[in-house]
């Protein structure tokens, strides 16, 4: 009996709650259609979302809408309908370092600092060395977000591992947890020294580019570009088309010159992920350094000798 009472009470609460919410919704809808507007008689032609041309009185047009994307951007939400993925072709890289420059510029970092690394790799003594560009791998099983004590670094729906620089407490556990050393720290202000004008130019919709003293930052896959179907700066800056970037849902990646089918590319070109055995499931794939475009030349080394 008692139980029944309870359930009916709950049902009543639920009903009234839903009712209340829908009433609120309707009320807000009415207030949205401002009935006090005096029509001017001047008709304006507009394109409706479904492609129809419609005519409305100019009085109903509100030109004062803030840029929704910028003001309402929530860094804890990914770009809808996207699942960003990157493929790096090791056979094309000659360490031109344009990716690093592009990244530094895009993220308002000092020249010598960048979220992209280009590592000289040699798998074993007798195998040929090669250049390996590395961004944050935006792992699907990220060891960095697991250890964060305050949820200042997290995985987004678009695949990006983002950082909230306004919440980070600077414990650097994520840097220690990342096996790829992808994260860098704002040890001092000189590490991102910008003048005020430059600082103002930093767009809102960038998960990592808000340089804050004593917090961690890293490659953010440039979501403000990906959202507009543009390429991150490391990708477009590369003169050799090393980086392919795209949306996994579209099954397509592009380096700006050619667009390839992602699944086909991974299958036919023997793609692999770095340190796969760690189980981190990176979103960055590598194509092996075979049939290289350039012979390996270590400029720094030949300069020194």
């Amino acid at each position: 009996m008692k139980e029944e009472e309870n359930t009916s009470r709950r049902a009543f609460l639920e009903k009234s709650l839903v009712g209340g919410i829908s009433a609120l919704g309707v009320a807000s809808l009415f207030s949205a259609c401002d009935t006090d507007v005096k029509e001017t008689g001047e008709k304006v032609k507009l394109l409706s979302p479904d492609g129809q041309i419609v005519e409305v009185d100019s009085a109903y047009i509100n030109t004062n809408i803030p840029d929704l994307k910028l003001s309402e951007h929530n860094i804890r939400e990914g770009v809808a309908g996207k699942k960003f993925v990157m493929v790096i072709d090791l056979s094309r890289c000659k360490n031109a370092k344009k990716c690093k420059e592009g990244c530094s510029k895009m993220h308002f970092l000092p020249k010598e600092r960048s979220y992209v690394k280009v590592e000289k790799m040699q798998d074993s003594e007798k195998t040929a060395p090669y250049w390996m560009p590395m961004t944050c791998f935006h792992c699907d099983n990220p060891p960095c977000t697991k250890v964060c004590p305050v949820d200042a670094t997290f995985k987004l729906s678009d695949g990006i591992v983002a950082i909230d620089n306004d919440r980070c407490i600077g414990c650097r556990f994520c840097m220690v947890a990342c096996p790829y050393s992808a994260r860098i720290f704002n040890w001092g202000e000189e590490m991102y020294a910008l003048d005020k004008e430059e600082e103002k130019a930093i767009p809102e919709h960038t998960a990592c580019s808000t340089h804050k003293l004593g917090t961690v930052e890293k490659c953010d896959f440039c979501p403000q570009k990906g959202e507009k179907n543009e390429l991150p700066d490391c990708v477009s800056a590369c003169p050799n088309g090393v980086f392919y970037f795209g949306n996994e849902y579209d099954d397509a990646v592009t380096n700006g010159d050619e667009t390839l089918q992602l699944s086909e590319l991974l299958k036919t070109k023997a793609a692999f992920r770095y340190l796969e055995e760690l189980g981190t499931k990176p979103r960055v794939y590598y194509l092996p350094p075979v049939n290289r475009l350039f012979p390996f030349k270590d400029v720094e080394e030949s300069k020194n000798s």
Partner: protein, 445 residues
């Protein structure tokens, strides 16, 4: 009967007079001054760090944890001694531990308090510490550490304070230095203690419950601290042995710390009657046992990976065995672990002076051991360190870091010293009980 009671009260009072805290001698004044100077200059260095950021340290993107973290691990480790002496030895009915319980417990409380401060010193944004509470993620080992360290601090403080209540009352009763002891704070701290049978029953029972409670929490704090490392992929840290390895090292360090404190207190306050050669003998034996256990875990941690020499581990292990860190590594292993076993295994080695010297070696060795656990691993990541300034490839703590780390150690020593100045460091009523003196008061006013 009444006569016997009076005799016991007299004995208790004379014991109280003997064990009352004493004023600082010349050495004491110099010691406190030095500690205050180190603490003050460390505070200045920290203010400097607050204004400039962690750039004033030598930590950089690769060596992203440094001596602040190894110092934190050292503090957590040394605090385990509280549970060793006041819990494990109590529950195994080792009656000889009585004069050492308060020494161990005050080391534990001051060390764990400074462990907390040290971790704040390491934070890039100490101003956002509140985020740990409003945005805390229970999945993060750091939150586990915060919870378990706070719990340990509470239980340790209670284990220090509860047995102190009857002693505070006794000190007030003794009439010595009555102006000092009549201060309101002591009246409040004595919590209306009358020495009734029922009161002793409550205190004894509470101590027993806490002594049992503190054992899992003690294992917890150091196991969780080891997980700050073992939950990552890094070579040298990626070990399933790490919890037990850390706990065993902590007990070894704690036993060493108690021997060192025993020696200094006994010498400074002429406590030969209470802290006897027998205590050094027993603590020496205990330290040998704990060092042997730690040796076992060290063999596990270094020999087993060295046998395989996996690609990722090899660079790290070579830097320890034959490379840059070899001198430090082998000194720490020899002076901080092997030599203590070799010396303390002989009866002559367990005399006060030799065991004091050995205990200092254990303490210093343990500090550098934690440095060797943290730093070399970080300097050997999976991705080779390239294209960074040369200085980023090594880690040599800046003078600010040294000063701040030293000042936390000085701060912990200062708390212990002031405690000894204010309160009787040898438990009075427990010693009396051990000597067969009835401590319960018939006075039912």
């Amino acid at each position: 009967m009444e006569n016997e009671y009076k005799k016991d009260r007299e004995k208790l009072m004379s014991l109280t007079r003997e064990l009352m805290p004493q004023e600082f001698g010349r050495v004491g004044v110099i010691w406190v001054t030095v500690l205050l100077i180190v603490l003050g200059s460390g505070l200045m260095a920290y203010i400097h760090q607050l204004s400039k950021g962690l750039i004033i340290t030598d930590m950089r993107d690769y060596s992203s944890w440094g001596i602040y973290i190894s110092n934190f691990v050292f503090f957590v480790a040394i605090s385990l001694v509280g549970s060793l002496i006041s819990a494990i030895l109590k529950l195994t009915y080792a009656g000889w531990r009585t004069p050492l319980t308060r020494i161990a417990e005050v080391i534990a409380v001051s060390a764990i308090a400074f462990a907390g401060l040290t971790i704040i010193v390491d934070m890039g944004r100490p101003d956002r510490i509140i985020n740990l509470f409003i945005h805390g993620r229970i999945q993060s080992p750091i939150i586990w550490d915060v919870l378990v360290v706070a719990t340990y601090l509470v239980i340790s403080t209670l284990l220090l304070f509860l047995p102190l209540i009857p002693d505070i009352a006794l000190c007030r009763e003794s009439g010595i230095n009555s102006k000092f002891w009549n201060m309101k704070i002591f009246k409040w701290l004595a919590m209306n203690w009358k020495g009734k049978k029922s009161q002793f029953f409550i205190v004894n029972k509470s101590i027993k419950i806490l002594a049992i409670l503190i054992i899992p929490v003690a294992l917890g704090i150091h196991t969780v601290t080891s997980w700050l490392f073992a939950t990552t992929f890094r070579s040298g840290w990626d070990s399933t042995n790490f919890g037990a390895y850390f706990v065993s090292g902590a007990f070894m360090l704690g036993a060493g710390a108690v021997i060192a404190a025993m020696f200094m207190i006994r010498r400074q306050y002429k406590m030969e009657k209470y802290i006897t050669d027998g205590h050094f003998d027993k603590m020496g034996k205990l330290l040998v046992l704990l060092s042997l256990v730690y040796l076992y875990f060290n063999i596990n941690e270094y020999l087993v990976p060295a046998y395989k020499m996996k690609h990722g581990e090899a660079a790290h292990l070579n830097s320890l065995f034959t490379g840059h860190y070899a001198p430090m590594f082998w000194s720490v292993q020899f002076f901080g672990m092997i030599l203590p076993i070799l010396v303390l295994i002989f009866k002559k080695g367990r005399k006060p002076l030799p065991s004091f010297i050995i205990s200092i070696m254990v303490i210093v060795g343990s500090w550098f051991k934690r440095f060797l656990i943290v730093t070399p691993t970080l300097l050997h990541p999976f991705v080779p360190i390239q294209n960074v300034p040369e200085s980023w490839k090594s880690y040599n703590p800046s003078w600010e870091e040294w000063l701040i780390a030293a000042s936390t150690l000085a701060g912990a020593c200062l708390i212990m010293t002031l405690f000894i100045r204010i309160f009787p460091i040898i438990p009075i009523w427990e010693t009396a009980e051990g000597n067969g003196i009835k401590v319960e008061s018939h006075d039912e006013k």
